[in-house]
């Protein structure tokens, strides 16, 4: 994603008691053998349900994620930044389109998903409930939030569901542009004038705590997802993703002589693990449940877009064209 920290429902094995044991064996053998599941294949009800839930959340994160950065398109400084940011935010909308499509192959229509998003029945990545106050915030998002997204997406692209993996492969190619652009923009601020350096340091200070929340609660307090791991729905644990992110990007932040707002952040050379101040998981819960600085606005904007666009979609409908589940 966007959206480490997927929220999964707690799963119990007895949910599986109703499944045909022979088909279930075949299904699990296929996954264990590294093969992909395609939409027409038999799959357990739980697999379908959790996949829809995860892909849908991911798609919502992309379309909501277009908002904080979209704020800065008009104000982006100069042609180069302007064109890059326009293309970057457009890609995020494109990612939403690809992911909704992948979820549609599992039998939930895009309109249903959109409705669940707007009515608050479906989540999106918590990090987009924070505001992008300055230009530097938008560059930090493009660099670090997208970096976090890539960690997740690369892991998930090795999952078991064919259409989701294909969407992610396409997405990852575009994300590498986002990451490069974001890093380029941050480098220019960090090596630039005093005003610029201050701007980017302040933005980093603001985005660090949500970034630590990004991958979700630590494994020891997370919902158990063993069966989802076995089915290759969830591909890496929250802590694994967080460690990988820190490993790849903290050195890059430090080389720009920017400071990370956590005095305890350091790599323990013995355990090869990063140590850090435990993020405030109460705040995480509060924000994910609707009480963040921008939750209301994000959903209100999405709702406005849907409502203002309704007459267009209605006028485009042709009575003989019918919606069927897309193929792949």
């Amino acid at each position: 994603m966007y959206g480490g920290g997927n929220t999964f429902e707690a799963t119990k094995f007895d949910n599986l008691a109703k499944e045909d044991p022979i088909k279930l064996d075949e299904f699990e053998a296929r996954i264990a053998g590294g093969e992909k599941i395609e939409p027409a294949d038999w799959m357990p009800v739980l697999y379908r349900k959790q996949l829809i839930r995860m892909i849908e959340q991911h798609a919502h994160s992309e379309i909501i994620g277009a908002l904080p950065e979209g704020t800065w398109i008009t104000r982006a400084p100069g042609f180069k930044r302007k064109l890059a940011l326009m293309a970057k935010v457009q890609d995020e909308v494109g990612h939403a389109q690809l992911l909704y499509s992948a979820a549609e192959t599992l039998g939930k229509s895009r309109e249903d998903m959109m409705q669940d998003l707007i009515n608050g029945r479906s989540k999106y990545s918590n990090i987009f409930n924070y505001p992008a106050l300055t230009w530097a915030d938008s560059t930090i998002i493009s660099w670090l939030v997208d970096a976090g997204a890539i960690v997740n997406q690369l892991a998930n692209s090795k999952g078991s569901y064919g259409p989701y993996c294909r969407a992610l492969e396409r997405i990852c190619v575009e994300e590498s542009f986002h990451l490069k652009y974001g890093h380029h923009a941050v480098i220019h601020l960090a090596t630039g004038s005093k005003i610029q350096r201050q701007m980017v340091q302040e933005a980093l200070n603001r985005w660090w705590p949500p970034m630590m929340h990004f991958f979700g609660p630590p494994d020891r307090i997370s919902v158990h997802t063993e069966v989802l791991m076995k089915w290759k729905v969830k591909m890496a644990t929250n802590d694994e993703c967080r460690q990988q992110f820190l490993d790849m990007y903290v050195p890059k932040i430090w080389e720009l002589r920017l400071s990370v707002p956590d005095p305890n952040l350091q790599k323990n050379e013995e355990t090869r693990q990063w140590e850090y101040t435990e993020p405030d998981w109460e705040e995480f819960k509060r924000v994910i449940n609707g009480d963040g600085p921008c939750n209301k606005e994000r959903l209100a904007v999405r709702r406005m877009a849907e409502e203002r666009g309704r007459w267009v979609r209605k006028a485009l409908l042709t009575p003989d064209a019918k919606y069927v589940t897309p193929l792949a």
Binding site: A66, R75, F79, M304, A305, R308
Partner: protein, 255 residues
């Protein structure tokens, strides 16, 4: 360009074309992430990017002719130094307004570039020839949406009709003549706004006639002019301020 031509007139032509594209590109980009349909959001954003890119190509040509660099020219001038028509600076409004503007304006810019592709100003002709390809997509898109929504539901037809009536006087402002246009015509740089206007009427009439819409009676004398000589609506300066907000924090540095 070996022979002595009226450079001021040429620059004026370049400025107004580039300014139109820059401003409209910015306006259209405001739809990114809030369009009526995800696919349309993506298509509209691409076309906005194309427009900004097209303006950049022309500002680069102006730079070659001795003007300041593109970033300075595009983001450091005030409203009265802009030569865009008033049409492009109006807020995006509801989707029907942005769509009708896209339809009316893009037909004019495609014709302009088609005309300029045989201009005696070689570098300009080269840019124009290259851009007609991507503009063809813009026109395919605009025509299809006008046709679909212009024959869709009662609501879509009436929305488009109302907006068309409001937009036409502004659209006519695209063809505001420049003071030294006769020099451009005699130098074979550009065949002139009147010629463009005649062709444009023909093109948009063809499309409108295939819908339930009625093209309002129009006459160049009702055109909302003034944009080409730096007289603008109150909407332009705030937009320019926004576009330059970050750059102005420190114009001397590399962002």
């Amino acid at each position: 360009m070996d022979k002595v031509i009226n450079k001021i007139a040429l620059k004026e032509l370049l400025y107004k074309t580039a300014d139109d594209l820059l401003i409209l590109g910015h306006r259209n980009s405001e739809w990114t992430g809030i369009g009526p349909l995800l696919e349309e959001d993506i298509a509209f954003s691409s076309m906005a990017q194309d427009k900004i890119g097209q303006s950049l190509a022309i500002y680069e040509l102006l730079h070659d002719l001795g003007e300041a660099d593109p970033d300075t020219v595009a983001f450091m001038r005030n409203a009265e130094q802009f030569h865009n028509c008033k049409f492009v600076e109006l807020p995006i409004g509801e989707y029907e307004f942005s769509l009708v503007r896209h339809f009316l304006y893009d037909h004019s810019i495609l014709l302009r570039f088609q005309q300029l592709s045989t201009s005696s100003c070689q570098p300009l002709a080269q840019i124009a020839r290259k851009l007609v390809g991507e503009l063809r997509y813009h026109i395919m898109h605009a025509d299809l949406f006008i046709k679909k929504l212009g024959t869709g539901t009662d609501e879509s037809i009436s929305r488009l009709q109302t907006t068309l009536e409001q937009a036409i006087p502004f659209a006519l402002g695209v063809f505001e003549r420049s003071p030294q246009e006769s020099d451009l015509i005699s130098d074979l740089i550009f065949t002139g706004e009147d010629d463009l206007y005649t062709r444009w009427c023909h093109e948009i009439t063809k499309v409108i006639e295939s819908t339930a819409l009625v093209l309002p009676q129009h006459n160049l004398s009702e055109a909302k002019t003034g944009g080409r000589i730096g007289q603008h609506t109150p909407h332009l300066q705030p937009l320019l301020d926004e576009m330059a907000e970050v750059l102005r924090l420190d114009p001397s540095t590399d962002w």
